[in-house]
């Protein structure tokens, strides 16, 4: 009898505990619906950021890239964690900002790799000797993310050196990666290899609209405002498939836009960020409608990670939680509904880098879109 009561009481205590936690969480969420979860950032730092400040892509052989460093910086400044921000920025500066002729960031760094040498046999500089840059080409989204984070940091912590570093990156990015094409200013994904006589290979997800808009405001007289406007036009025109979605990679030739023949014709891991970027910059943008229309009937169980825009078939993998967060955000914006940060699921300790990054970025976007200032 006593054992029976003990079991009942134990279950009751556990239930009460769970209920208490849930209730506490509910109350907290109710009181601060747009507050970023501290736990998300702690998990992110623990799982993906080294003590030296390297953001590790755990899903891809633990490489690091400029985009990941950029995500880390944007998130750190959103959490107002200056120590983490400085750690990530210092590592980025010392190990990726090593191109000899400009201030752009080498896009990829691999652990265990040997430093690249120039024709005189001099290795590229770097302070983290556990690996090295394996390709000095830049990725313009990484450069933009880092510059954006630096501009935000200069405002949050009122430190000129961040602003200066951002301007240096952006000046060289404008010089090397912006090109006039068919009356538009286009953003090349990298300095080398995306521009041929036949046309330009473009990645729509590299148009990080909130970043471009903030950069244009912070650096008046520069072409970033036009890049942003022309990027929206690119996305409007570059829609394919049954659902009129943006492909991961586009090819601009003449005045035509095609799905790039060099890559899978998917709306997938790259282009999933396009609606995030659009909504973050302008939550009532009409460009969100096709994405919301596509995701609405599929969310949550049936949302695929990729869609083939040539035959409208779904890819074999389900969407990552971060991608689902983007879908929820997009649907809320397109339907003129509201969404709170706390309504989105917390980052789990097993979530991969890319998903966790998207998840936290979406929450930052939700906070900036919906929280009353």
């Amino acid at each position: 009898m006593k054992a029976k009561w003990a079991v009942i009481l134990s279950f009751g205590a556990i239930f009460a505990l769970v209920l208490g936690f849930k209730l506490t969480a509910f109350v907290l969420d109710f009181l601060n619906p747009y507050g970023l979860r501290k736990a998300d950032w702690e998990i992110y730092q623990r799982n993906f950021i080294s003590t030296g400040g390297r953001v590790i892509d755990t899903g891809n052989e633990n490489v690091s890239h400029s985009e990941g460093q950029g995500y880390g910086l944007v998130i750190a400044v959103a959490y107002e964690d200056r120590a983490a921000f400085d750690r990530i920025w210092n590592w980025t500066q010392q190990n990726l900002q090593v191109r000899p002729a400009d201030k752009l960031l080498a896009w990829q760094w691999k652990p265990g790799a040997s430093p690249i040498e120039d024709e005189n046999g001099t290795p590229l500089p770097g302070t983290d000797h556990s690996g090295a840059v394996t390709d000095t080409n830049n990725a313009s989204d990484g450069d933009i993310l880092v510059a954006w984070a630096l501009i935000r940091a200069s405002k949050v912590w009122n430190d000129y050196k961040y602003q200066q570093a951002a301007a240096q990156i952006l000046v060289d990015l404008a010089r090397l990666d912006l090109k006039e094409y068919d009356g538009k200013t286009i953003l090349l994904p990298g300095t080398d290899g995306f521009w041929t006589e036949d046309g330009a290979t473009l990645n729509p997800s590299y148009y990080i609209f909130p970043a471009l808009d903030e950069i244009a405001a912070a650096l008046p007289g520069t072409p970033w405002g036009k890049v942003s406007a022309d990027g929206r036009s690119l996305i409007e025109k570059g829609a394919f498939g049954k659902w009129k979605l943006t492909p991961d990679w586009l090819f601009a030739t003449g005045s035509e836009l095609q799905i790039s023949p060099k890559f899978p014709p998917d709306f997938g891991y790259n282009a999933v960020r396009v609606p995030l970027h659009i909504a973050w910059a302008q939550k009532d943008s009409p460009l969100l409608a096709p994405f919301a229309d596509f995701w609405k009937p599929l969310l949550p169980e049936h949302m695929p990670a990729t869609v083939n825009l040539k035959d409208d078939s779904f890819g074999p993998y389900p969407a990552l939680p971060g991608m689902k967060a983007i879908a929820a955000y997009t649907i809320a914006c397109a339907s003129k509904a509201s969404l709170t940060v706390r309504a989105l699921p917390a980052v789990t300790k097993d979530e991969p880098y890319f998903s966790a990054s998207l998840s936290i970025l979406t929450k930052i976007a939700v906070r900036e879109s919906f929280a009353t200032k």
């Binding site: 892509d57 990725a139 301007a167 949550p300 689902k324 309504a343 979530e351």
Partner: protein, 791 residues
């Protein structure tokens, strides 16, 4: 609104979130496994790398993103420079006597590479000249470039001559017109009046085809790159990149750099523009914080901005013009850079960039070009810029000593300035030889040079009345008139003994001058920029710019630039803004704007309303008004009783009571000065026009000497047409900074002497009545005492 939306849509978002939550709990491990498997890497990992080796990076051609001007300037330019611009206003270019030289200086800018140059000369010679012996030589830098016979039968001449380019050097080139003129072969009077040739300076001109040189990208070149020696007005654009609406701070920055340019140009006119992007065909001064200018800088330059940053670069697509970068990390540093640029004597390094260190301005206004004299004071000629020299020969000219007087010296001053001259002269002068002293062209005193053996005077004292001096620039001319002892027809005339040396230790002793300035006076404003330059840094002046449009702003900057050229100082502590200053501000107020932009309360005390387009009347011409009306001794006596008319700060233009016409003032610019309605004793000067475009056009025309130098009275109206200036005196006077009741009553009495007489009579009557009453009481008291004593 956002709150409302949140409440309205909460259930929907909750459902959405719960759905995501549900989906994210169960299949998460499966997803992890699935994600690890695909060969398609997410996001940036999909970047293709073209296999180019690291150090063989090829930048795409034509990717530079600097906002370029739409067109580039043609490098070659045809220019014309009237001789009138190289000589004093309204003075003729007359060559008299048997031998005469007129020298002018032709500017050649280092920015221009001349490809050809010629001189077109219109001259008229006397019809009494002996053609065979009368010649006009044109000499450039001591080399004869042309000779013309002065033909009595062809007195009107128009000739064109080429000037060899190798004779022209960068800087000021001496161009001399030298005549030998004779009317007879024997026993000639060399000063005969029929010996003359006149060159018409208005129709004679220099013309040149020149090419713009590339800008040397060195800051040390900047001082002479903003060049007064350009033949056309220096044009520049003040660029605030990306700025949609000009702020007060940008207005102030633009004002300071415009003044810097104006000071560098000395008295030459300029044309300033402003935009939020570069303009082709002119120098651009780009101002803003480092981030605002990032589109104009390289990453390396951005990295080097660690303070107030000044740089010079070639204008993109136009190496003949430059882009001057005035920047810094924040607005304070930008302000400091602008100030360093504005101070013409700030040392600039021989490099493309400079970080302006802590800029401390001297307490004393040592950086003023035309610093007025401090009075009382003793000044040697050396201090005043005179260089000791000996004059030789007959009609060999004289000495000139420029003096800058404070703007508020009073015409009421009865004091004298003392001149202590140290000079020596040669022997055997005829006894009508003299040493004449002129102030501003007006004869003052003479010293007779009567010692046949020559003499040295070490402390010869002369007294010059202070009323001979005007506010601002004065010129004291000291001219020895040396006549040979032996002259006469067919006599050998000895000139070698005609020598005169004026030593530079001669001194001026200025008394404690009466500092009382009667305003309004646009004449005083044009001579010295007083009272706006009363404090050399502009600390006592406020500038209200009534519109934010390009034309109004640049019109205001143009006026500031002109004022700094006149005062020779940078008005960097000027209070400047787009909002009217507070009502209680005790400053000299300048207002610039189109008529409909100026608030009505500012013009409350204006003697005429410049806001009423087409309604304002002004004087075009009237016959002179007699200064005194008295014609008989009785009337003169009565006039003495009335009092003499109050002395004026400047010759007073006729009153508008006699105005003769109303003008259509749509195209006109109006300047009116009057006492501030809110700050007693301080002036308000409004410069306005019917539209902002007309205002700018008028302000550019104001820079012309024929307009600026002739401003007078308290009302001036002009437009871009030549000789359009009309001036008038329409409002009451006031004493600058005079706020005391006594002074103001005194001023009013002086202005209205008729008021003074009855008040004085009443006062005398009252006093007389009082004295009479006292005396009567005293008498009564004494009478009573006497009666008592008698009793």
């Amino acid at each position: 609104m956002k709150d409302m939306m949140r409440h309205l849509h909460l259930p929907q978002s909750l459902l959405l979130a719960l759905a995501i939550l549900a989906s994210s709990i169960a299949p998460i491990s499966a997803q992890q496994q699935a994600v690890a498997a695909p060969s398609v890497a997410p996001a940036a990992l999909a970047l293709p790398t073209p296999g180019a080796s690291v150090f063989q990076r090829t930048a795409p051609a034509g990717a530079a993103r600097l906002p370029l001007p739409e067109r580039t300037t043609p490098r070659e330019e045809t220019m014309r420079l009237p001789i009138r611009k190289l000589i004093a206003l309204d003075s003729p270019l007359m060559l008299r006597n048997a031998s005469s030289i007129y020298t002018i200086f032709v500017p050649v800018s280092a920015r221009m590479k001349f490809k050809s140059c010629s001189l077109n000369l219109d001259f008229t010679n006397s019809i009494a000249l002996l053609t065979e012996r009368s010649v006009l030589r044109v000499v450039v830098n001591d080399v004869i470039v042309a000779q013309y016979r002065l033909d009595r039968n062809r007195p009107f001449n128009s000739v064109e001559m080429g000037i060899p380019l190798e004779l022209l050097k960068t800087g000021f080139n001496r161009l001399q017109f030298i005549v030998a003129q004779h009317y007879t072969n024997q026993c000639e009077d060399p000063g005969a009046p029929e010996l003359f040739t006149e060159i018409n300076p208005d129709t004679s001109y220099l013309s040149a085809v020149a090419e713009w040189r590339d800008v040397p990208q060195r800051l040390s070149y900047l001082r002479w790159w903003v060049d007064e020696k350009l033949w056309n007005p220096y044009q520049f654009n003040v660029c605030f990149p990306g700025s949609s609406q000009m702020t007060d701070l940008q207005l102030a920055w633009g004002g300071i750099v415009t003044q810097g340019v104006a000071l560098a140009l000395n008295y030459q006119p300029f044309r300033v523009m402003t935009a939020n992007a570069l303009r082709a065909g002119m120098d651009n001064i780009v101002i803003g914080t480092m981030t605002e200018l990032s589109g104009y800088l390289t990453a390396t330059e951005i990295g080097s901005v660690n303070g107030s940053f000044l740089a010079i670069k070639a204008l993109p697509g136009d190496p003949a013009h430059c882009m001057i970068i005035i920047s810094g990390r924040d607005e304070r540093e930008v302000s400091q850079t602008a100030l360093a640029f504005g101070l013409v004597n700030y040392p600039l390094p021989d490099s493309q960039y400079a970080i302006v260190d802590q800029l401390t301005l001297p307490q004393e206004p040592a950086y003023i070009r035309n610093a007025p004299l401090q009075m009382p004071g003793i000044y040697s000629f050396r201090q005043l810029g005179y260089k000791q020299q000996t004059i030789r020969g007959w009609n060999a000219g004289g000495y000139s000593v420029p003096i800058y007087m404070p703007g508020d010296i009073s015409k009421d001053d009865g004091a004298n300035a003392e001149l202590r001259l140290h000079f020596t002269y040669g022997a055997a002068f005829r006894d009508d030889s003299v040493f004449n002293v002129f102030v501003n062209g007006q004869f003052q005193k003479a010293i007779r040079l009567r010692d046949l053996n020559g003499s040295m005077h070490s402390d010869h004292r002369l007294y010059l009345p202070m009323i001979s001096f005007q506010p601002g620039r004065n010129v004291v001319d000291l001219t020895p008139v040396m006549v040979p002892l032996v002259t006469g027809k067919c006599q050998m005339i000895q000139e070698e003994n005609l020598v005169f040396t004026l030593y530079d230790d001669s001194v001026f002793v200025f008394p404690r001058a009466l500092r009382k300035c009667r305003l309004p006076s646009l004449g005083l404003f044009s001579q010295t920029a007083f009272p706006y330059s009363g404090s050399p840094d502009g600390a006592e002046t406020a500038l209200f710019v009534a519109g934010r449009d390009m034309e109004t702003v640049t019109a205001a900057w143009t006026l500031l630039g002109k004022m700094s050229q006149i005062s020779g100082a940078l008005l960097h502590r000027l209070e400047v803004g787009f909002k009217p200053p507070g009502r209680n501000i005790r400053k000299n107020l300048l207002v610039v704007g189109a008529r409909d932009q100026i608030p009505e309360d500012i013009v409350a005390r204006a003697p005429v309303s410049p806001l009423q387009v087409g309604k304002m009347r002004y004087l075009v011409s009237v016959s002179p008004k007699p200064e005194r009306l008295a014609t008989s001794p009785i009337e003169e006596f009565m006039e003495k009783i009335r009092g003499t008319p109050s002395e004026k700060a400047e010759p007073e233009p006729p009153k508008t009571a006699e105005m003769t016409m109303a003008a259509d003032m749509i195209d006109d610019t109006v300047a009116v000065q009057f006492e501030s309605p809110t700050a007693v004793g301080y002036p308000v000067t409004i410069v306005t026009a019917g539209s902002a475009a007309n205002l700018l056009s008028g302000m550019n025309a104001l820079q012309d000497r024929s307009v600026w130098d002739n401003l007078a009275g308290d009302l001036a109206v002009w437009n871009s047409r030549p000789d359009s200036l009309a001036v008038a005196k329409v409002g009451p006077d006031f004493i600058y900074k005079s706020t005391s009741v006594v002074t103001r009553v005194g001023t009013n009495m002086q202005q209205s002497p008729w008021l003074f007489a009855p008040i004085l009579i009443i006062l005398i009557l009252l006093i007389a009545l009082g004295v009479r009453t006292v005396l009567r009481r005293r008498g009564e008291k004494l009478g009573a005492e006497e009666n008592e004593s008698d009793a």
